[in-house]
Each structure stands twice: as C-alpha cells, then as structure tokens.
C-alpha cells in the first residue's frame, strides 16, 4: 500500500482523539545540532473545517485492533479499511512535515496488536528513532498502552514530552458495557503509575547535582472522555475530571463529543455529536482549573446534573446567584472578580493594576478589553448602576444572539 493511502487511513483512524496540545515541557532548540525546537507554549499550524487545530501529526501506527470498543471506528468488528505504518514511514513523515514548518511534532497512538507489550514496543521504536537517530527536538506525545511493561513505559517517558491514557468513558459501568476488553481499575492504575513517574522525575531533576536524571514526560499526562456515548450526565463527567486532576495531577482532560463514525456499532445509534455540550464542558473545566470554582458550584448553574446549554457556565452560575451582584470592580477581591461573567483571568489582572491608579469608570473597562454587554449587568461603577438584577429579562438579554453564534463557538478555548 502506498504511504499516502496509509496516511489517509491512519489519520482518519486517529481523528477522534481530541488532544493536540504541544505545550509544556522543556525548552530546547537545534542550534547545537538536530532538528526542531519547543517553545513551551505550543503552536497551532492549521485549522480544519471542524474547527480543530493541527499542531501535531496525529496518526495511529496501525488501526488493526484486537479490542472491540463499541464507540471506536477501529474496533475489531468494524469494516473500516486497515493499514499499518513501518517505523521508517512514520519517522519520514514526521521529519518531512516538520521541516516544512507544518507541525510541532508527533502524536502517535496505535490499535492493540499481538499484546500490550508488543504494541508499546512499536510506539517506543518510533520515538527512539526520532530522538536518537535523527536528533529530533520537536514535540512527541505517545499514547500509553495500559498493561505494558514498566520498562517500556519508562523508555516512552524518556523520549516523549507527554504521555496519555484515555479513560474513554466517565462511568466504569459504561466502559464495561461498551469496551469489554478495557478495565477502569487497570486504566486508573496505569495513570497512577504515570503520575508517580512524572513526579519522581521532576523531583529528581530539581535535586540532581551532577548527572541529569532520566526524563519522564516533562509535559505531563492528559486523557480524554467521550461525551454522549453513554448516559453519564455532566455531574458524572465533571466529577470524574475533578478526581483525575486531583488524584493523578493531569495537565488536561479532553472532552470529545461522540460523533458518528463510519461503520458504527448498532449499540450507538447515529446522532449529531453534542457539540454545544462538549463546548460547555470545556468552559466548565476552565472554571474548575483557573477560576476557583468547584464542580458543585459550576453544576449549580444548570439543572439536575446538566449544564445550561444556552449560556456559558459562568453566566449561568451568576444568574442563579444574583444576590452576590452587582460587584464594584474598584473594591472587590480578585476571587470575586473572577466570578463576574465576561471577566477573564487577564482582564481581572488589568482591573487590579488599573484601580491602583484611580477609580475605574466604564470607559476604562472598555479600554481594558472587557466585553461590556456581558459584564456590565453584574458591575457597579462610579458612572454605572445596573438597572435591576431581578426578573427573567436578564437571562434573555444575555443569551447569544443567534443559533449560529452558538454553533460557531470554538470547541477548545484558549486560556486568555
């Protein structure tokens, strides 16, 4: 089979993994040899019509798989065409695209063939060839196969910037039903092992005196949950995410709306992917990580364990806690300002800086880049007093203008 046909099959097979970040990890460049650099913040080199970014060459080594996970296009019982790359093909594609400045590096995953160890060994061979034979200094993200031997995982961590294991589904019972060969406890154990390895390598690097200790995934680990393939509500999803951030110190949890796939299983009838729900989960995730919200607080903005689909979760929360507003940005503490709809981490910083120089008025807020329509109903300024925070009209006024505006909202938000 031609490389081009394999590339089409094995990229098509990889696209349901939402992760594409190339951030974090150590800074390095090629001035002393090799190819590539990492800047710490990652670069999105292109965007596809599905609104997602291309940062890494995201492919499977093979989409042949012994497992029969109902939600997966590559499951054993699917009629999807199969292919397998050689190590050299993946290396050549990665270096070739990288030299043209089309990617930041490689995100390599694989179907399970022969055994977990055999599969992991194949992934490690690609990373080893890139790093040791070609001096590749770009970004490498490897999918880790649960149950693979610890020494293979250790070598993967030496070469890779990031490792990941997908929890796949928010509920262990759903995993049992839809992915019979997978086991939530084993996945959790593998994530715990990665978390320990990452922390140990970080501590060792901090205290090392002479020889540098071996690297282990300096950009940390991430995971993905499929949304809408099982009956889990947003409370279950955000609960699992909170547990993963806390217990395994994950860098990111990705939420992937279950999307119709070719040759889909009859267990999952084809429906439009719940893109707005996915978007709201990312927004909620941001509130958990950067805005001091707990999962319970974010969910309090919605009803019965589900987020409000029509409004962003911070606005939804604020509308149900109107007694805490209006806030005076000239006096309120940082934690309170972070809860005002429309105020991001950066605009709160600017407000805190500006108010040391004198009272902030509405013209100042506009200059600080605050979206006035969303924020003003919740703010009290020397020249502005919100008319009323009561009644249903406020919710109506805060709804995005059109269904198109909602649909066009980006699936992945950037921090600022």
């Amino acid at each position: 089979m031609e490389t081009r046909r394999k590339l089409e099959i094995l990229a098509d097979a990889a696209k349901y993994d939402a992760s594409c970040a190339s951030s974090g990890g150590t800074r390095r460049d090629s001035r002393s040899g090799g190819l590539g650099s990492t800047t710490g913040s990652g670069i999105c080199h292109a965007y596809t019509p599905d609104g997602r970014c291309i940062s890494l060459l995201k492919i499977l080594l093979t989409n042949a798989c012994q497992f029969d996970c109902a939600y997966c296009v590559n499951r054993a019982s699917s009629n999807t065409p199969r292919a397998r790359f050689t190590v050299a093909e993946v290396v050549d594609l990665t270096l070739g695209f990288y030299r043209r400045n089309a990617i930041e590096g490689l995100f390599l995953s694989s179907g399970i063939i022969r055994s977990p160890d055999y599969t992991m060994e194949q992934l490690v061979r690609v990373a080893r060839a890139l790093r040791e034979d070609h001096g590749f200094r770009g970004y490498i993200h490897l999918k880790t196969i649960p149950d693979a031997a610890p020494e293979l995982v250790a070598e993967a961590g030496r070469h890779a910037d990031r490792l990941s294991i997908n929890v796949e589904l928010p509920l262990a019972a759903s995993l049992k039903r839809l992915a019979p060969e997978k086991d939530a406890a084993r996945i959790d154990g593998a994530m715990a092992a990665l978390s320990e390895g990452i922390a140990a390598a970080r501590d060792a690097a901090r205290t090392a005196r002479r020889a540098r200790p071996p690297r282990f995934a300096p950009a940390g680990q991430s995971t993905q949950m499929i949304v809408g393939a099982d009956p889990a509500d947003d409370a279950a999803i955000l609960g699992t995410a909170t547990r993963l951030y806390g217990k395994h110190r994950l860098k990111r949890v990705y939420y992937s709306a279950y999307s119709p796939i070719p040759h889909a299983s009859a267990m999952l009838p084809p429906v439009a992917p719940p893109l707005v729900r996915e978007h709201r989960l990312y927004q909620a995730d941001w509130l958990l990580r950067f805005y001091g919200f707990t999962a319970e607080e974010v969910l309090a903005g919605g009803e019965a364990g589900m987020l409000d689909l029509a409004l962003d979760p911070k606005t939804a929360w604020a509308l149900k806690h109107r007694g805490q507003f209006p806030l005076d940005p000239n006096a309120a503490p940082r934690e309170a300002l972070l809860r005002v709809p429309g105020l991001g981490v950066k605009s709160v910083e600017r407000i805190m800086a500006a108010r040391r120089h004198g009272p902030i008025r509405s013209a100042d807020l506009a200059r600080l880049g605050v979206p006035m329509g969303r924020a003003l109903p919740f703010l009290l300024l020397p020249d502005h007093r919100p008319r009323t925070l009561e009644g249903a009209h406020l919710r109506a006024a805060l709804l995005p203008a059109t269904a198109f505006a909602r649909a066009a909202a980006p699936a992945q938000l950037s921090l600022f």
């Binding site: 019509p49 599905d50 699917s78 292919a83 695209f97 030299r99 043209r100 400045n101 999307s259 600017r350």
Partner: protein, 278 residues
C-alpha cells in the same frame, strides 16, 4: 520650534531610540515633533535635533523599552509619535504610567504590541517551506506576507528551530537567508520566487483532509483562528471547499452504514493484523 525627524527604517528601534533620546534631552514636547520614514518624509535627513537643554541623563523604565521594541514593528504610521509621547510622560510627570493599563496611551500601545505578537505567532504557525535541490544541497524556501514589520525580529525563531537546515524566507519587504551561520537580510521579493510544490506537499494535503471530522463542521471556529487572508499562502487550504462540500454525503453514508453486520472479527486472531508492508 517644530522639528521634523527622519528614521532610516520602518522598524529600526535603535535609530528611533537615539533620536528620541536627543529630542527628550532637548525638551522638545511630543506635539512639536513630526516623524517621517526615509523616502516618505520631507528630505533625506530632516532637521538637526536641537541642542540638549540639559545633560542627557534621564531614567527610562525597562518596561518602556520592552514595549517600545515591540510596538515599533507595528505598521501604523502613528507608532513613532505614540512612543515618543509615552517616553515624554514616563520620563516626566508620570514615571509609573505603564503600570496603568486603563491609561489611553498605554492601552493603545499595548494593543499595538499584541497585534505585533499575534502577527509573529501567525508567522511561526502559517509559514510553510518548500524543499528545493540546489547546487549546494537542499534549501527550504518560504513565502509569507506579515501585517507588521516583524521579519528580522522573528528570524531567530526559525534559526532556533531549523539551525541545521539552509532556508530562505521571502516577504514583500524583506528576504532572510540562513546559511547555517548568520541570517542575511535583503530586499523583498515576490510570490513567484517560491519554488513549485515539493514531494511532501500532496501528503500534507492528504493528511489535512483525513484528520478533519466531517460530522462536526465548525467553519466559523476555523476562520476565527485561521482568517481567510492566510489561505492563499497555505497549501492545505485548497482542500477546504472539497471537505465542506463532501461532508453532508459522508455523514449520510455513516448513518446508512451504522449497525451493518460486523465482519467476522478477523482482527482478533493473533498474528492476523496487516503485515508492515501491507
């Protein structure tokens, strides 16, 4: 007394800094200075700066220099005067001015600096090389059209990333040539200086098409991050109309095929995965 000054280049920070220092030392207020670029101004040299009114020793906050170095790359002709007005204030009545992001002059300068940084980020992201054989070996050549005067400042990014390659970046205003040791900057070029598509480009376009999920189109989100003005210089964007047009039929086919009788799980039998050269 009104002073006309002429800068040698559109983003020559050192020249601006030298002239601005002289004007500040001579206590020439911002509204008395007219800033021009060589070739666009009144004469080649402008007026001589007036003699300093006092010893030219005044403290310039480090934060001002960092901001000014970025803002001077902005294409707006107002940038030289804006920076001088800021310099006037931070070395005069308002040494803490830059700490206040709500101050109109500061907000304006910060907005210009972020536009420059965004332009640089898009250059790192959307510039594409093509490989071409030359008598001296393979050279990677790119054509890019930045909004601001960022070419020289961003050469370092490509040096760090591609130090071991030989590359050329052509823009309408500047050509950068890396020979492995230094970057030579020369006059700008044309898009026709770009060599024809190389062997990797069809593979890259194939990857772009295959990684897109037709069941979840969000063209608005795509355009927000990758505005149309960049499309003409990106090889993969030629695939966008096809991907958009084919998507509905592909999703319909998925719905029709869903739940079709599974094949007899050939992937399960050990050793039956496709061989490496399949």
């Amino acid at each position: 007394m009104r002073v006309a000054v002429v800068l040698p280049g559109p983003a020559d920070f050192e020249a601006w800094r030298r002239i601005a220092r002289g004007l500040r030392a001579a206590d020439v207020p911002p509204d008395q200075v007219a800033w021009h670029l060589a070739g666009e101004g009144p004469g080649l040299f402008g007026d001589d700066p007036p003699a300093p009114a006092r010893a030219a020793r005044f403290a310039v906050p480090r934060a001002f220099l960092a901001l000014a170095e970025t803002v001077i790359r902005h294409h707006h002709p107002e940038r030289f005067a804006l920076l001088y007005a800021l310099l006037w204030r931070v070395t005069g009545d308002a040494p803490r001015l830059l700490d206040n992001p709500a101050e109109p002059l500061v907000a304006r300068a910060r907005a210009m600096a972020s536009a420059v940084r965004r332009d640089a980020h898009k250059m790192h992201a959307f510039l594409r090389f093509r490989a071409v054989e030359t008598p001296d070996g393979v050279r990677h050549i790119a054509w890019f059209e930045p909004d601001h005067h960022i070419e020289r400042a961003e050469a370092g990014f490509f040096v760090r990333r591609f130090a071991q390659l030989r590359w050329t970046i052509v823009t309408p205003r500047v050509t950068l040539v890396w020979d492995g040791q230094t970057v030579q900057a020369g006059p700008g070029g044309r898009k026709s200086d770009l060599p024809p598509e190389d062997a990797m480009e069809p593979l890259w376009r194939a990857y772009y098409g295959a990684i897109c999920n037709p069941a979840r189109l969000k063209p608005g989100a795509m355009r927000a991050e990758m505005p149309r003005k960049y499309w003409r210089n990106l090889p993969e964007t030629a695939e966008i109309p096809r991907l958009m047009a084919e998507a509905p039929a592909r999703v319909r086919r998925m719905a029709e095929e869903a739940g079709a009788a599974p094949r007899h799980t050939p992937q399960r039998r050990p050793g039956h995965e496709p061989p490496p050269e399949a």
